[in-house]
Symmetry: C2
Amino acid sequence: MPNSRANDALRRGIPEATVARLPIYHRVLSQITERGIVTVSSEELAAASGVSSAKLRKDLSFLGSYGTRGVGYDAAYLLYQIQRELGLTQDWPVVIVGVGNLGHALANYGGFANRGFRVVGLIDADPELIGETVTVGRDGEILKIQSLNDLEKIVNEVDALIGVIATPAAAAQDVCDRLVDCGVTSILNFAPVVLTTTLDVHVRKVDLATELQILAFHEQRRGDAHEVIV
Amino acid sequence: MPNSRANDALRRGIPEATVARLPIYHRVLSQITERGIVTVSSEELAAASGVSSAKLRKDLSFLGSYGTRGVGYDAAYLLYQIQRELGLTQDWPVVIVGVGNLGHALANYGGFANRGFRVVGLIDADPELIGETVTVGRDGEILKIQSLNDLEKIVNEVDALIGVIATPAAAAQDVCDRLVDCGVTSILNFAPVVLTTTLDVHVRKVDLATELQILAFHEQRRGDAHEVIV
DNA sequence: ACCTGTGAAAGCCTTCACAGCA
DNA sequence: TGCTGTGAAGGCTTTCACAGGT
């Protein structure tokens, strides 16, 4: 039974590459609807998202047929569908472990709240930091930094399924293990280490040095672009 | 002339997917050599990097034949080759625009210095911040935050080719244009906007909310994994 | 015996180009 | 006419499996 690509959309098997772009479309559509625009063509939406229109149409076709031929997409309706697909219509409690500069930046980051994420726990190992208050989100909600010792208690209390690791590299694997042990199934890791977990846990990694190194690679390439062995 | 894949490595056309993994291998090899390990097999290195050994061998084969059959790779030698390939044997001056929490975190980030990056400029629009000193890197080097008005002067002075944008979304495109105008050709963008530039400028994007949204998507999937149309 | 390096196969993603519908 | 939705083609990436050295 050679199960073709055609059925994938129906079986809700949205390609990973498409999933990774949905948040961009989501953001662009938010801006567009806020400006009062009602209808948008694949060409326009693609340009604003930095992708080709063919790619955009393919991406959207995995969600369903939400456009109108000859016209375009109803921006608000499409926005809602993407929101639903991404699970942003519900509320995701998130705990952040490691409240250095980066952790602070994440806690303050305004972009979370209106996308369904709520920072409900700030955890750090440094006794100096514990008890300190941090403003999370844009509307001035205040949260106290809690002790790493209480990680399990905190995670269980707030029922977080998503954890963010912004600790030094040395602490990350241990924190990861503990998060997973108490039920966290999705982890966003900013520490520069490869985390090992069971397969059912989703780990995504953001590595600042890595990004710069990729840029440096291309930058260097400019210089010796013509040192080619023919 | 159907130019085959086989020549790609020689013509220095390393696949993008491989380039994106080289920094990981680089980091893992650094740790390994620091522990005094001399020889490493593709299996070991792959495990520590979180990839399959076949993938690792293919990746390394694009750089050249640096292993020994029946034995493995000389860790220090391989590390050097990757370093050279990534352009980390030279020194890249980097300017950071936007010195909020995130900008601070980036400035302080210890991982840059020993990977060939040197933060040489901190720029912000907020008059309150200008003149404030920030410790960059691990060895306590001190840098003063400078005014956005002087961006062009600063970039030209320090000869930066790489710029990091950590400003609010609204300011990002303008900052990008100005950086490009004064010769920056690689940009790492943390602002949640799609930047438009000429094709010869390399832009990489790190979007914190996007990463969480991708996790949320998969998290949601767990719940309704069985709501499948058959 | 062992482990690298690599063609070949399989799978995934993007682009093309146009049928199909408003 | 105009724009979406989508097969088909093409390109890129990963995996397989083994030939080729040590």
